[in-house]
């Protein structure tokens, strides 16, 4: 049987594994998923990695590949979306809040820090920065950030009570050790999109078939179950 290789952002691991299992029930094609950070995968694809499809959690790296010209341009579209939420550890005494400019972020943090992905390069961090700017809280927050190297790093800091608050994706908040205190309004940051595309050199019917399957109701149900939004 034919085999397909799908390179996907690590945050999709659970959800995509479930979708691939579903795909396997009705299709003979073997699908191998390769999870790493979006940037790692993008660079590898640029270097000729044997990928068929690429799902990025990050528009910039998808753009980078588009510019490099290794993608089948007509195949690119936005597959999934996500929300940004404010979380705290399950042991924390903090209560759900209304997110606006009057929110006492400094008081909530105490002498500790706000965990998020590094706004310099982690997409979740960049969205969080936008949202905080929109709320007018960025000047308060900026010196007190705990910048993790990905969303999971930020989540770990919150789970362990190291940081009282963290900003992560809704899909990550499924962890049993954190509580969602608030959801950032969708208009507070640019849309959180997960673009997908087929690698030009691997553009063949099987790849198109998988791409199509990812948008079937069967697949979207699964994605939703794992906390993603479907675009």
């Amino acid at each position: 049987a034919e085999s397909l290789s799908i390179y996907a952002a690590a945050s999709l691991t659970n959800a995509l594994n479930a979708v691939i299992a579903a795909f396997g029930e009705t299709h003979p094609t073997r699908v191998i998923a390769n999870y790493a950070s979006s940037s790692t995968l993008a660079r590898q694809i640029a270097q000729g990695a044997p990928a068929d499809l690429y799902i990025s959690a990050n528009l910039q790296w998808m753009d980078y590949l588009t510019e490099t010209g290794v993608l089948a341009d007509d195949s690119r579209r936005t597959l999934l979306g996500n929300r940004l939420v404010l979380v705290t550890g399950t042991n924390s005494a903090l209560v759900p809040v209304e997110l606006d400019q009057d929110w006492n972020l400094a008081g909530a943090l105490g002498d500790s820090r706000l965990a998020l992905g590094d706004p310099d390069h982690v997409p979740a961090g960049r969205y969080a920065k936008e949202a905080l700017q929109w709320l007018g809280l960025w000047p308060v927050a900026e010196p007190r950030l705990a910048r993790a190297n990905n969303v999971r790093g930020a989540l770990a800091l919150v789970e362990r009570g190291e940081a009282p608050l963290g900003i992560v994706y809704g899909s990550d908040a499924a962890s049993a050790r954190v509580r969602v205190l608030a959801e950032f309004p969708a208009r507070s940051h640019s849309p959180i999109d997960y673009p997908i595309a087929i690698v030009r050199s691997a553009d063949r019917p099987a790849a198109r078939e998988l791409l199509a399957f990812l948008s079937t109701p069967q697949a979207t149900d699964i994605f939703r179950r794992y906390g993603f939004e479907v675009r």
Partner: protein
């Protein structure tokens, strides 16, 4: 006891680490010897070069490997065209990444032992008619055994734990490059998969422990032989 997934990652880890260490040993011993005994211009440079993989974060090393040894890379491209040898996205690449990262540890340990070898014994062997090669093989090398063992186990352990360079260079491909640490990473990245991650963690620890105990046992054996208590 182990799921197929864990089993696969474990076997892959063992294979990649073993291959990495075994291939590193000959050049490692050679370079250690050069550094311990040689006097040549550029020795300090060579020494630094060997230590580089320690100083740079593994991700950077992986990136450099991707650029240099990938199929489109400078050396990698040449290797592929000349010999059809490709490291890209295969377990061989993972072994290469591990080997590079663990190499300084191997060389240092061997070098340290080499420097402790009593050169008067080598002199004695020469006067008994043994040429340089025979002296090296029959005197120097056996007396360096503790260092070679220590270096091997250090390097093996480091290979078992290698993550950053591997995932950056050859990605995280199940059955091909997804070693224990990469599998661990996948679980860590997944909300609620702490148990699975912990299981892998324990497997890695057990394997390393076994390797360590084995090496200690070997070291004791050689020490005993030297002291003649067995």
């Amino acid at each position: 006891m182990l799921s197929e997934y864990e089993w696969q990652a474990l076997m892959l880890s063992l294979k990649i680490s073993s291959v990495a260490v075994l291939w590193s040993l000959p050049p490692g011993i050679l370079l250690a010897w050069l550094l311990a005994r040689g006097r040549f211009p550029g020795k300090a440079l060579l020494d630094s070069l060997i230590h580089l993989p320690l100083v740079l974060p593994p991700v950077v090393i992986g990136y450099l490997l991707l650029i240099g040894m990938g199929r489109q890379g400078l050396i990698g491209g040449w290797l592929y065209e000349s010999f059809g040898l490709s490291f890209s996205f295969s377990w061989r690449g993972a072994a290469l990444a591990s080997a590079v990262v663990a190499f300084p540890l191997l060389v240092r340990a061997i070098r340290l032992s080499l420097e402790a070898v009593d050169r008067r014994l080598e002199d004695a062997a020469h006067t008994l008619g043994a040429g340089r090669l025979r002296v090296f093989a029959t005197i120097t090398l056996p007396l360096t055994l503790p260092g070679i063992l220590a270096g091997t186990v250090l390097a093996f352990a480091r290979c078992l734990g290698e993550f950053g360079a591997t995932i950056t260079f050859v990605s995280n491909i199940p059955g091909e490059t997804r070693t224990l640490p990469l599998a661990m990473f996948s679980f860590i990245e997944t909300p609620g998969a702490e148990t699975e991650a912990a299981r892998l963690c324990v497997i890695a620890i057990v394997v390393a422990l076994a390797a360590l105990l084995f090496s200690e046992w070997l070291a004791r054996l050689t020490r005993r032989r030297l002291e003649g208590t067995c």
